[in-house]
């Protein structure tokens, strides 16, 4: 008779067969049998977080930066509910997570037992799928299925809820053989006809644009390489969503910068005026489209996406191509090579007027700001950070708010998986634990969380995790003492009624850093900024960097709510020249 394993052992056997190396978790009553087995499985390193939300975001950071699924282990009741924010965040941003949660013993389910909650009920709308395993015989199958669901098609979070008695029960374990490369194949439903149609549209277009998103990143590093080849072969301009940054080099001349609410003037105007929009792995989010009725009114739209339900959800498209981005681009490049080997050359004349127009928009220099000698402008801080770290293969995470948009505007990425930010759910407090996860995946790399002082306080406790595991993450706080984006909207949309957006009692971040056992650095003037940033980079321990920035600075350009792409609000320089007064601003 073969050896019998307990449910807890089977959890680890499954993780081993799935090549999991790290697990982010927090123990508790209902997962104690699993924690009891941890010592017997050396393939796995457990990272003890300080809050289950931190475990979730760390797992997201790990997944986004490594391309592998992130795994977290939490206890029943509060353990599971604390993980809900991170699961929802991963669901919105298509990050593969596997959450294993403990549950009260099966005979206590439904009795309002201590630390009981309806975990599968609560997480149903924020996971791709979840399971309550009531029989240990189903456990192995369920965990492997969970990994499959999380990582195939459009990736996302899943949850496996395991009652405590099931963790003790014993059964057989059969070695699992991982199927290679399931991703893509079963989910691609396009034909050569679609590709031919795409190429027909491309050769007809005189004002084309590529609009790329997180789908390119999720399709793997190969997809980013292919995208570069495709853009190069066609000579078309390209813009990217927040989540897609890094799939195309940020400093390339064909790249128009990020689009959307705080995107560049040239990207948004090009989206509005184009006659062919090729969406690759983006989802027409409301922060991208602005007013739907007036979104890019004159264009033919192509949408390449692995998720059929993304097609026609917000914007009706003319040519949907359902498939994995890498596969679709491969076919496209192959066909171009066959049908029109000199596409870029023959097309150059046709789209030259378009490029002229784009250059005109570009000359507006919409990310520009008025710099100062006295105070550190937050944009300047990000620019300096970029200049001083760009040769180091740096990984950037962010929290949510103004600093996030400034990071997206001024930090240029030239590789995928280097940029981790909460785009869909917009979770303040994402960046610090995400940085922990990124550093776990890339121990030798420089990992920086560009943060706001309000966001970072939401998950500050994870500094303790960073110290425990000697993860030298750098928390670069653009500290303006305000919830900056809230303050900006209140200024522009609510008659400067700054209701509750000022934090009157902030901790001393340098002392806080010392209390956590890491290094605190403060910069208050533009003159000392560079030296302090270099000091931060050269510190091989976790750092909290308190960068005191201008308190009034707003994030421009901005598409005011309910406006189309071509009615952007530009920054103060332009406003001064065009004499748009404060009163004009409130009219948005």
């Amino acid at each position: 008779m073969s050896k019998l394993y307990s449910g807890a052992e089977i959890v680890f056997k499954c993780l081993e067969d799935q090549d999991v190396e790290f697990i982010f978790g927090y123990p508790g009553g209902a997962v104690l049998p699993i924690y009891d087995e941890l010592k017997n499985f050396n393939f796995l390193k457990h990272i003890l977080v300080r809050h289950e939300q931190g475990a979730g975001h760390a797992a997201e950071g790990y997944a986004r930066s490594s391309g592998k699924p992130g795994v977290l282990l939490v206890t029943s009741g509060p353990g599971a509910t604390n993980a809900v924010t991170a699961l929802t965040d991963a669901y919105m941003d298509s990050v593969p997570l596997v959450c294993i949660s403990g549950q009260v013993p099966t005979h206590l389910i439904g009795t309002d037992a201590f630390q009981e909650c309806d975990t599968t009920g609560i997480t149903r709308p924020c996971t791709k799928h979840n399971w309550l395993v009531k029989d240990v015989k189903d456990l192995e199958k369920t965990i492997h299925k969970a990994f499959e669901v999380a990582t195939t098609g459009r990736p996302g979070p899943v949850l496996v809820d395991i009652p405590k008695d099931v963790q003790f029960q014993k059964t057989n374990y059969t070695k699992f053989k991982k199927q290679k490369k399931i991703n893509g194949k079963v989910h691609s439903h396009f034909s050569q006809k679609d590709i031919d149609e795409l190429i027909k549209l491309m050769s007809k277009a005189s004002k084309p644009i590529f609009y790329t998103g997180g789908g390119v990143i999720n399709s793997g590093p190969k997809a980013s390489e292919l995208l570069r080849e495709l853009v190069n072969k066609t000579g078309f301009p390209i813009t990217s969503t927040l989540q897609g940054l890094g799939s195309y080099p940020g400093e390339d001349s064909q790249f128009l910068g990020m689009l959307g609410m705080h995107g560049s003037y040239e990207a948004n105007n090009a989206m509005h005026d184009c006659d062919l929009m090729i969406n690759i792995g983006a989802r027409f989010d409301d922060r991208i489209t602005g007013k739907l009725d007036e979104f890019s009114p004159k264009s033919k739209k192509v949408h390449i996406d692995i998720d059929p339900s993304s097609i026609n959800k917000n914007v009706k498209v003319d040519l949907p191509i359902i498939g994995d981005v890498a596969e679709v681009i491969t076919s496209t490049i192959k066909t171009i090579k066959k049908v029109k080997p000199d596409f870029a050359k023959s097309n150059k004349q046709k789209i030259s007027k378009w490029w002229e127009k784009i250059q005109k928009w570009r000359s507006v220099n919409s990310f520009d700001f008025i710099n100062s000698d006295e105070t550190i402008k937050p944009q300047y801080a990000v620019q300096r950070l970029y200049e001083l770290t760009k040769n180091k293969d740096t990984y950037i995470t962010t929290e949510v708010g103004q600093h996030q948009m400034w990071a997206a505007q001024h930090y240029k990425f030239d590789k995928p998986n280097r940029w981790m930010t909460s785009g869909g759910l917009g979770t303040m407090g994402y960046g610090l634990p995400a940085a922990v996860g990124v550093q776990v995946a890339h121990p030798k790399k420089l990992v920086i969380d560009i943060a706001g002082e309000a966001s970072v306080l939401m998950t500050m406790q994870e500094m303790s995790t960073a110290v425990q595991y000697s993860l030298p993450i750098k928390i670069f706080i653009l500290n303006n003492e305000y919830m900056g984006m809230v303050r900006q909207w209140q200024e522009l949309l609510h008659d400067k009624n700054y209701s509750e957006s000022y934090t009157a009692a902030l901790p001393d971040f340098v002392k806080l850093a010392e209390a956590y056992g890491c290094v605190g650095i403060r910069a208050s003037t533009p003159q000392e900024l560079d030296d302090k940033i270099i000091e931060m980079i050269n510190t091989d321990r976790p750092v909290i960097f308190d960068c005191r920035v201008d308190k009034q600075e707003n994030c421009f350009p901005m598409i005011p709510s309910g406006k189309p792409h071509n009615q952007m609000l530009l920054g103060p320089k332009d406003q001064r020249e065009n004499k748009i007064t404060g009163k004009g601003k409130t009219l948005v």
Binding site: T120, G121, R124, P125, K128, H129, L132, V149, D286, T289, G290, K291, L292, D293, D307, P308, S309, I311, N312, K313, K316, W489, L493, H494, S561, G562
Partner: protein, 182 residues
């Protein structure tokens, strides 16, 4: 209209609403109905009626029939979102006007009153396959199968004949002819 101060986009024009019958084949497992219904409520879709039962105990398959209304875009989304659920095998969609599909609902009526009233009620029900399931001196329980709007009008008509209680199912649907939906 008050000028919106919201930073979210202003809702666009709404298309015309159609009534559709969505049939979903699912694994009969714990929570599967909650997944389907939760998808509707979570995304703001309507459910007019719902009927669900296991149809294949061996393969463990249940068939869920949902009557819903929405713009063509919303109906399309409902189908695509349903197909993404792990326990969902296939999804069929019929327009209510579709002549190739049979729709039926069942209703139970309890009537209390004089004999002549009850007889009149029974007569009115006749064209909807009326069956008397229970009979006392004072009351009838009648079962009918009909379309939704027919049952709607019957419940109105029967008020005057002593209708005191109504119980009805959601619609179930099946295509005409030998074709089977795959």
């Amino acid at each position: 209209m008050v000028k919106s101060k919201s930073a979210y986009s202003i809702p666009g024009k709404q298309g015309k609403f159609d009534t559709h019958i969505i049939v979903v084949w699912v694994d009969n497992e714990a929570g599967v109905l909650a997944r389907v219904v939760g998808l509707f409520s979570g995304r703001g879709y309507n459910i007019e009626s719902l009927a669900v039962a296991e149809i294949d105990p061996k393969l463990n398959i249940s068939r869920i029939t949902i009557v819903t209304t929405g713009t063509p875009q919303v109906i399309e989304q409902i189908k695509l979102q349903l197909k993404k659920l792990v326990p969902v095998h296939k999804v069929a969609d019929f327009k209510r006007e579709d002549k190739n599909v049979i729709f039926k609902e069942m209703a139970l009526f309890k009537l209390v009153g004089s004999k002549s009233k009850k007889e009149k009620a029974l007569k009115a029900c006749k064209k909807y396959n009326a069956i008397i399931l229970d009979k006392t001196n004072k009351s009838y329980v009648i079962q009918i199968t009909a379309l939704r709007r027919e049952i709607d009008s019957m419940t109105k008509n029967l008020k005057k004949f002593g209708l005191v209680s109504i119980s009805r199912t959601g619609a179930v649907a099946m295509t005409r002819g030998s074709e089977v939906f795959k």
